[in-house]
C-alpha cells in the first residue's frame, strides 16, 4: 500500500489548515454561503437535506486497518455512529457539523486520508478493480498506475476548474472489467499488444447521468511511460472545448459525441504530439518506486486449497457453505481467497456500516488479511488475502457482526444511492425500495436459483446508483410531486457494456417491487437453462415478454 512521503503529508496538512481557516471565516459570517460553497465542495463537503455530508476519498478503494479504525472513530465521535460506502469506492458521513469538519480532516490526515477533490469540477478519486493485485485474470496490478494518476491529478493546477467533474477508472484484467471503465470520462485498460508489450488502451467519453454513453477507444495501445502525457492531452482538449454554458452538456461524453470519436482522437493526438516532450515521460525509477509499495505481501507457501474450498461449499452448516460459494473469489496465490463482505444486511441501508463494525472489520483485516481491505463500487468490502483454511473463523466472526450475508452478486446485493432520504438532488427515495426488494427475495435458495443478477437503483437522473448499467435498473422520478419509478432492463457495466432500456411507463411506489418480482418470475419461465443468466435471457428474448409481465394487471375478483 502506498505510504505518504513528506510532500504528500505537507500538502494534505496544509489543505486541512487552509480549510479550517475558510470554515472559521464562514462561521464568523466573514464569508457568505455563495463564497464558501465552491471552497467546501473542493473539500468534499456538501449540504444535503438534513445536514452537511462529507465525502472521504479512498484512492482505488484500498484501506489499511489503521484507516478503518480512524473511519470508525470519526463515525463515533463526529457523526451518528455510522459511515456509508459509496458507489465510487469512497466513504461518506451524513451528519457532520461544519465546525467539526476541520477536526475530522486533521484526524484523517493522521492516517493519510483526506476529502480533497471528492466533489467539484476536478479530477475525482481514481477507481479500480476491487480485486486488483490478487485477481487470477489480471495482466498487471493496476494500483501503482492508479496511485500515479492520483498523485498527478491531486491539485493539478490546470485541471482544478474543468467544465464538469471528471472520473477515471483503471483495470488490469482485460478479460473481465470489474471497474466499469467504459462508463468513465477516461477508462484505462492494461493490455498487451501484438508484440507482447504491456501498455494501456485508453477510452474516453463514457458516463452515466442523464446522458448515458459507452466510452470509446481513443488510443488502442499507449506505452506505459506516456500515460500522464496522454491523459493531459485528453484533459486539455476537454478543458478547452468542453461546454461551460450548460452544466447538463458539460461532461466530456457530450464533447466526444458532438465531435465524433475520430475528430476527438485527432485533436487529442495533435495536442499530444505538440505538447509531449521527454520531460513528460514517466521516469522508470519513479514507476518502480511506486510499484514497490504494491509488491505482493509475504504469502505463505500453501497447498492450493481447492479440495478444502469444495468441502466448505458443501459444509453441513449451510449458511457457511452458501457464504463460501457466493462470497469468496479465487486468488492468484495458492491457498488464499478473497472474501467479499456484503454490506447489504437485512433492514439496513445498503453500504451503511457502523463504527463498531468498522473497528471489528479492522481487527479482521489484521487477523485474516494482512491488514488490508478494499471497498467496491457495489458498496461492499473485500478482505483480499484470506487463507482458505481460515474461512470458517472469518465467517464466524462476520456472523457475530451481522455481516455474513451470502449475497454477493445476487439479487439482494443491490447498488443504491442515498436518494431522497438524504440527497438534495434526488427526486425519489431509493433506500426503502432497496430494503423492500431485499425483504421480498430474502430466501437464499431462491436467490441462488435466480443466479447472478445486478439491480441498481438511483433516486434521480444523475445515476449515482448506476441504474443505467443494472441488469435491472430502477430510476426514481418526480411525477407531479409523487415518487414514481422507471424500470429498465439489460444494462451491463463490464466488457459487454450496454445501457438498459426503459420498459415502459413509470410505476407507482407501491407497484414497483411487484413489477420487479414479475420480471424475475418471467425470467425463470423464459431462461433456457439454469445456467442462462438474467442478462443473457433479456438479450436473447428482448424486452417484450418482460414488458407484458410487468404491466399485466391481476384479473378482477369474481363478483
Amino acid at each position: 500500500m502506498y505510504k505518504y512521503d513528506a510532500y504528500d503529508t505537507r500538502i494534505i496538512r496544509e489543505r486541512a489548515a487552509q480549510f479550517r481557516g475558510q470554515v472559521e471565516r464562514r462561521l464568523s459570517g466573514e464569508i457568505t454561503e455563495d463564497e464558501f460553497k465552491p471552497l467546501r465542495l473542493q473539500n468534499g463537503l456538501y449540504m444535503q437535506l438534513h445536514a452537511y455530508m462529507l465525502r472521504v476519498a479512498v484512492p482505488y478503494g484500498l484501506l489499511s486497518s489503521k484507516q478503518l479504525r480512524k473511519l470508525a472513530h470519526v463515525a463515533r465521535t463526529y457523526d451518528k455512529g455510522y459511515a456509508h460506502v459509496t458507489t465510487r469506492q469512497n466513504f461518506q458521513y451524513n451528519w457532520p457539523s461544519l465546525e467539526d469538519v476541520p477536526k475530522i480532516l486533521d484526524e484523517l490526515a493522521d492516517v493519510e486520508m483526506h476529502a480533497v477533490q471528492t466533489s467539484g469540477n476536478c479530477v475525482r478519486n481514481v477507481t479500480s478493480d476491487p480485486f486488483a493485485g490478487i485477481a487470477q485474470d489480471e495482466l498487471e496490478d493496476p494500483r501503482p498506475w492508479a496511485e500515479i494518476m492520483r498523485q498527478w491529478s491531486t491539485f493539478h493546477p490546470e485541471f482544478a476548474a474543468l467544465p464538469r467533474k471528471f472520473k477515471i477508472a483503471i483495470t488490469g484484467a482485460p478479460g473481465e472489467d470489474r471497474a466499469a471503465v467504459k462508463f468513465h470520462d477516461i477508462g484505462v485498460r492494461i493490455v498487451k499488444n501484438a508484440a507482447g508489450e504491456v501498455g494501456f488502451e485508453i477510452l474516453a467519453g463514457g458516463g452515466m447521468g442523464r446522458t448515458p454513453i459507452i466510452g470509446q477507444v481513443v488510443r488502442e495501445f499507449l506505452p506505459k511511460e506516456q500515460l500522464l502525457g496522454y491523459l493531459e492531452a485528453i484533459l486539455r482538449v476537454y478543458n478547452l472545448s468542453g461546454r461551460r454554458d450548460n452544466k447538463y452538456k458539460a461532461r466530456i461524453k457530450i464533447l466526444v459525441t458532438a465531435l465524433g470519436i475520430e475528430e476527438f482522437r485527432r485533436l487529442v493526438e495533435e495536442e499530444f504530439a505538440a505538447s509531449y516532450t521527454p520531460d513528460l515521460e514517466l521516469p522508470v525509477g519513479e514507476i518502480e518506486r511506486v510499484k514497490a509499495f504494491f509488491l505482493p505481501p509475504a504469502y505463505e507457501s500453501l497447498p492450493d486449497g481447492a479440495s478444502q474450498l469444495a468441502a466448505f461449499k458443501l459444509a453441513p452448516e449451510r449458511r457457511f457453505g452458501q457464504w463460501v460459494t457466493n462470497n469468496t473469489v479465487a486468488h492468484k496465490v495458492p491457498g488464499y481467497a478473497a472474501a467479499v463482505i456484503s454490506i447489504k444486511t437485512k433492514g439496513i441501508p445498503p453500504g451503511d456500516v457502523s463504527d463498531t463494525q468498522l473497528d471489528a472489520l479492522a481487527d479482521l483485516a489484521d487477523r485474516f488479511s494482512m491488514g488490508l481491505a478494499t471497498t467496491t463500487h457495489t458498496q461492499n468490502l473485500v478482505l483480499p488475502d484470506v487463507k482458505i483454511s481460515e474461512l470458517p473463523q472469518l465467517f464466524a466472526a462476520l456472523e457475530n457482526l451481522d455481516l455474513a450475508e451470502a449475497n454477493y452478486g445476487k439479487l439482494t446485493d443491490l447498488i443504491t444511492c442515498p436518494g431522497l432520504d438524504y440527497c438534495a438532488l434526488a427526486n425519489a427515495r431509493s433506500i426503502p425500495l432497496s430494503l423492500e426488494i431485499s425483504e421480498r427475495f430474502d430466501r437464499i435458495d431462491y436467490l441462488n436459483d435466480i443466479g447472478d443478477i445486478a439491480i441498481k437503483i438511483s433516486g434521480c437522473i444523475n445515476a449515482c446508483g448506476h441504474h443505467h448499467v443494472g441488469h435491472i435498473g430502477i430510476l426514481g422520478i418526480d411525477k407531479k410531486g409523487v415518487e414514481a419509478y422507471q424500470l429498465q432492463l439489460g444494462g451491463s457495466p463490464g466488457n459487454d457494456a450496454s445501457i438498459g432500456k426503459i420498459l415502459g411507463p413509470a410505476f407507482a411506489e407501491d407497484e414497483i417491487v411487484d413489477a420487479v418480482e414479475k420480471v424475475i418470475v418471467k425470467y425463470l419461465e423464459l431462461r433456457d437453462s439454469a445456467e442462462e443468466t438474467f442478462l443473457q435471457t433479456v438479450r436473447r428474448v428482448g424486452l417484450e415478454p418482460f414488458k407484458q409481465a410487468a404491466y399485466e394487471k391481476a384479473p378482477a375478483a369474481a363478483e
Binding site: 454561503e33 451518528k80 426503502p432
Partner: protein, 106 residues
C-alpha cells in the same frame, strides 16, 4: 383558525453551523420545529424575508427559500415529499442498531 388543508408558505434553510434544517419563526429567529414556522399567504410574501436572510443572516443560516405547506388540524405539513423528509428526517434507519450503544436521535 385555518381550515384543513389550506395552502400557505413558510421560509426554510439549513443552519450554517450544524447543517440542520431551519424554519423562520414568527419573531424572526430560526428554529428547528416546523410547527413554529411563520406562515405567509403566498410565495410572493416570503421573498422579502428570503432576501433579508440571504443578506443579513448568512451567519445563522444558509440557502433560505420558501416552500408551500398545508395547514390543517394536524398542524403544518409540507406539500412535497422532499420537504416532508427534511422536516421529519430520513424514512429509513439512520444507523445500525448496535447492541450496547444507544440509538442516537435524528
Amino acid at each position: 383558525m385555518q381550515h384543513k388543508g389550506a395552502t400557505h408558505w413558510i421560509v426554510t434553510a439549513n443552519f450554517t453551523a450544524s447543517g440542520a434544517v431551519a424554519y423562520l419563526r414568527e419573531d424572526g429567529s430560526w428554529g428547528q420545529k416546523l410547527a413554529e414556522s411563520r406562515l405567509f399567504a403566498d410565495e410572493e410574501a416570503t421573498k422579502p424575508l428570503v432576501a433579508l436572510a440571504q443578506k443579513t443572516q448568512q451567519f445563522t443560516v444558509s440557502d433560505p427559500y420558501g416552500i408551500d405547506v398545508h395547514v390543517g388540524e394536524s398542524g403544518i405539513e409540507p406539500v412535497t415529499k422532499r420537504e416532508s423528509i427534511r422536516a421529519l428526517g430520513p424514512t429509513t434507519p439512520i444507523r445500525r442498531p448496535d447492541s450496547g450503544r444507544e440509538r442516537l436521535p435524528v
